[in-house]
Amino acid sequence: MSARRLLFGGLLVGCLALALLFLCLPILAMFVDVPPGDLVSSLGEPDALDALWLSLRTSLAALAIIIVVGTPAAYFLGTRSFRGHSLVTTLIELPLVLPPAVAGIALLAALGPKGLLGGTLEDAGIALVLQTAGVVVALTFVAAPFYMRQAQEAFAAVDRAQLEAARTLGSSEATAFARVAIPAAGQGLTAGLALAWGRALGEFGATLMFAGSFPGITETVPLAIFSRFALDFTSALALSAVLVVVSAALLLSVKLLGRSPLLGGPG
């Protein structure tokens, strides 16, 4: 009995160690391969900074759109039941399982010059393809489901009685949403935000297909890494390392923010 338990415990620990090794070794190797000096100097290249700055700007813009539109939408899905609820939820989550290339093709088919809404957009004077705005569209498309799915779950878990209590205390529905639902779902929302941000920062395929790649306009860090991969492996490695550091720092700060009492974390 206790031998079996020991065996199973060993199995668990072994699998965890294996997973940890497999997932962390490549990342570790990256830092082993790049002398810290190169890391810093590769940042000094204007193109690298351009790409980093562009990645930050576009991913933040995408996040802003996702938060502003996705939060109320997720609240609706998380707190209301209606016919076709699970269908709508599935449709929203669909981009999660799309390969990035498919996402790119789909965006072109919808918003490209020959796409479904291409003419409408052109008439409205909105240019997306090969523009920075196109990058934001691509990032929003692939990252939004990560946030919305988490947000929906978080809102669904909010105690309905708390929302009703807010109403009886004089809050309108909208105020109850802002003052009770959002803080109560805070941790889930920030976790979703972290995931979405990570996904947006790493986006490659959809961006390349829909927005192309041009330094300073549409060449985000992953595209810059790819274009350096052939020319100068060390520099690609350095930029990758920078992306890892920046992403890790962003994700960590979002998570810490989620823990803060301000957003309803566990004190």
Partner: protein, 258 residues
């Protein structure tokens, strides 16, 4: 918030089953001597020609197509296909100098062309300098990109600058340029003449470049050092110069080696 997953109850049989499937899936990578397919890494622009070649010659080949530069980078990182075929002969020569591949063979030539949609009003390279024309070119790291810069560099300064100003995207692969063209995301793109041939069905046509601007686009292939099947690799490359391979290249619009 956390619900116990219904999956958990069934996890026990699922675990070994999934491991078995994983083992099956990678099983084809096992080492049964002699039956190994020939592994070919080739430039994107060679895809049509090489696929036909392998089919017709009955060669069991596992071919992957990507930017020549990217494939070279992989070889530098220790990947060893049997054959490396690049759209820029200088790449295999560089690898040869580094002792990674055998002496390269130039097996075909190509010309650079401007790809435009069939109904385009662009008639010559000069039209590309007009303001507002959207152009796709290859990234500097891929051969098509460096050839394009070579071509533009031969134009008078202001014209060259105007064209470069119109560049909206630098694609890491020829396929990306063709895709942007067929989707009308750009008005024109610098590609190989053979790419336009392959994309005729998608409504593209080629604008020839004056001979004075043409770069020497030479395709080079080499046997990779440490290849599992060097014999097969040599035969494959010989076939490109004479026989099924040469035929397939010709059909795809490639020129014979200079």
């Amino acid at each position: 918030m956390r619900k116990p997953s219904p999956f958990a109850r069934r996890a026990t049989p699922v675990l070994p089953a999934s491991l078995a499937i994983a083992a099956l899936a990678v099983g084809c990578g096992g080492d049964d001597e002699g039956e190994e397919p020939l592994v070919v890494s080739a430039a994107s622009s060679l895809e049509t020609a090489f696929t036909e070649y392998a089919d017709e010659a009955g060669i069991d080949a596992k071919q992957s197509f990507a930017g020549s530069d990217e494939l070279a980078a992989q070889i530098r990182q220790g990947v060893t296909p049997d054959v490396y075929a690049a759209a820029d002969a200088s790449l295999p020569y560089e690898l040869h100098a580094e002792g990674l591949v055998s002496e390269p063979v130039i097996f075909a030539a190509n010309t650079l062309a401007i790809g435009v949609p069939e109904d385009s009003e662009i008639r010559s390279i000069g039209d590309l300098a007009e303001p507002g024309v959207k152009i796709a070119i290859g990234a500097p790291s891929v051969p098509v990109g460096s050839y394009t810069r070579e071509v533009i560099g031969r134009l008078p300064g202001p014209e060259a600058e105007a064209i470069l100003d119109n560049v909206r995207t630098q694609e890491p692969e020829v396929a990306g340029i063709v895709g942007k063209l067929t989707q009308r995301a750009v008005d024109a793109g610098f590609v190989y003449a053979t790419d336009v041939v392959a994309a005729e069905d998608a409504g593209l046509r080629a604008i020839r470049l004056p001979a004075s601007l043409q770069p020497g686009v030479a395709y080079g292939a080499a046997v990779v050092d440490g290849a599992e099947n060097p014999e097969g690799a040599r035969e494959f490359i010989e076939g490109l110069l004479e026989g099924d391979g040469a035929e397939a290249l010709k059909r795809a619009g490639f020129l014979p080696p200079p």
